[in-house]
């Protein structure tokens, strides 16, 4: 598993990478009340805004951590956005993508480095 400075986690399985947000991010956001997901098939470039998250406090977004294609989205979050707070590292993944530059993964932190990052 890899982690970004934007508090996303990335898990590679075969040629597909699943993306979610960390428990730290979920806690900082507060209760999530709305999630807007990208369309499957969308080609994205790293740093494109792909997901909108609204919490009781504010709106924020998730940016694509890699170049590639969105191949699956977690529709369950649309009806139950609160899952993001309950199980951010598990059930509440946001989307899966097929990276076109898999090497970009290597630029992100491992779990130890991320834990140091959030202090």
């Amino acid at each position: 598993m890899k982690f970004t400075e934007e508090h996303e986690w990335l898990r590679a399985e075969g040629d597909v990478v699943t993306v979610g947000i960390t428990g730290h991010a979920a806690e900082q956001l507060g209760d999530v009340v709305f999630v807007e997901l990208p369309e499957v098939g969308t080609m994205v470039t790293r740093d494109d805004e792909v997901v909108v998250i609204e919490s009781v406090k504010a709106a924020s977004d998730i940016r694509a951590p890699l170049d590639g294609e969105i191949v699956e989205v977690n529709e369950a979050l649309v009806d139950e956005p609160g899952k993001v707070n309950e199980d951010p590292l598990g059930d509440a993944w946001f989307f899966k993508m097929k990276p076109s530059e898999p090497g970009q993964m290597d630029e992100y932190m491992d779990e130890g480095a991320y834990n140091d990052f959030i202090g």
């Binding site: 209760d31 009340v33 709305f34 909108v52 009781v56 406090k57």
Partner: protein, 374 residues
């Protein structure tokens, strides 16, 4: 946050695990470990304790007693204060010469003097404003007291275990009561839409009182986050957001707070700053109005969202002044200003969120019914 003021409950907030943020020059709890959503729901179901010590508490005295203070204050607020009953409180606002709102406040007749509670961010300006314009009135800012709010359907039961007399109070009654925590200045009011009390307590007794209230199983501490969503669902204005110097009381649909005696044809009509505009709008209506908005879907339409009359084309005709997800409503709720012809209940307007116009229905306020003990 060393340059921030702290309230007498600051150490308790930290002990309770609050997330602290700067607010109006104070370090205040935005939420406790329970979180905004559950704090909000708990307050509506049971009772919540809020630290509102950052608000300004002011005593106004004059040789002629309460009537002299009331007469002078009527020169600054368009409210009937002379006829306010002893140990009763009223909502009001300072207006400016253009008919805008300088601040909103609570005003109480405490027999031989007036007691006012003003917003934290405005208190220095409010006090200067009163000192400049209330001749013959002594204005004392109370800085050695904290202010707590206990809100929710269980508030009466909780506070009455300590002070049985509070059960007899009605909405907007005030009382001065001796207690184990010193002399308490209590009003049956609040800003959540729920029944409850606001309690002014000597600063050194604030923490023991808060601990005693929190010891009840029904009471949870509530932060500013839930305070905001509670007041928004209750359709209550937040100064600096829903009302300010650019909004008149009539536009803000606060005309209910201007009693007949201060309106055209009343015995003490006008006589407050901006009276010409405000009296005219009371008669003829204002060009725009504050309304409730229920956006479709789940996405909140937040403050600053431009509002359009149509799904496509045209200029913005209004804007959202407060918007959030309403935990009790279980959906997004907003307030904002729209032109008078779009202010009718049931009208569809469109808020532009992230570049897309989303439909919202104009609805009556409040979103959640008030639960006051009248």
């Amino acid at each position: 946050m060393s340059d921030l003021n702290v309230t007498p409950l600051n150490a308790l907030h930290h002990e309770l695990g609050a997330r602290m943020v700067p607010f109006a020059g104070y370090e205040m709890p935005v939420q406790y470990p329970l979180g905004v959503m559950k704090e909000h729901l708990h307050c509506r179901a049971r009772a919540g304790l809020f630290d509102v010590s950052h608000m300004g508490q002011v005593i106004l005295r004059a040789p002629g007693g309460y009537p002299q203070v009331a007469r002078a204050m009527e020169g600054l607020v368009p409210v009937d204060l002379l006829d306010l009953g002893t140990m009763r409180q009223r909502y009001g606002f300072f207006t400016d010469d253009d008919g805008g709102i300088l601040d909103d406040l609570m005003l109480a007749n405490r027999g031989d003097h007036m007691f006012a509670v003003v917003n934290a961010a405005c208190k220095a300006d409010d006090i200067a404003h009163m000192r400049a314009h209330l001749s013959g009135v002594e204005i004392e800012e109370i800085t050695d007291r904290a202010l707590l709010a206990l809100q929710g359907p269980a508030a009466e039961g909780v506070l009455a275990t300590m002070l049985p007399g509070v059960a007899q109070m009605r909405f907007m009654d005030v009382a001065v009561l001796p207690s184990d925590h010193g002399e308490l200045w209590i009003s049956r009011s609040g800003y959540t839409g729920e029944d409850g009390y606001e309690i002014s307590v000597p600063a050194d007794q604030a923490e023991p009182l808060a601990r005693a209230l929190l010891a009840h199983a029904d009471v949870e501490p509530i932060g500013l986050g839930a305070r905001d969503s509670l007041r928004l669902e209750a359709g209550l204005c937040l100064y600096g957001h829903d009302i300010d110097t650019t909004t008149s009381p009539v536009e803000a649909r606060l005309a209910w707070a201007i009693q007949k005696v201060r309106r055209a044809g009343g015995a003490r009509a006008g006589g407050f700053p901006g009276a010409a505009r405000i009296l005219r709008e009371l008669t003829d209506g204002a060009p725009r109005a504050r309304v409730g908005l229920r956006p479709e879907g789940r996405a909140p339409m937040r403050e600053g969202t431009p509002v359009f009359a149509a799904l496509e084309g045209g200029e913005a005709v209004g804007h959202v002044t407060s918007g959030a997800f309403g935990p009790t409503i279980q959906g997004p709720v907003s307030m904002g200003y729209v032109p008078r012809d779009l202010a009718t209940k049931g009208t569809t307007v469109y808020g532009e969120v992230r570049g897309r116009r989303m439909a919202a229905t104009v609805v009556a306020l409040p979103f959640t019914p008030a639960n006051f003990k009248r």
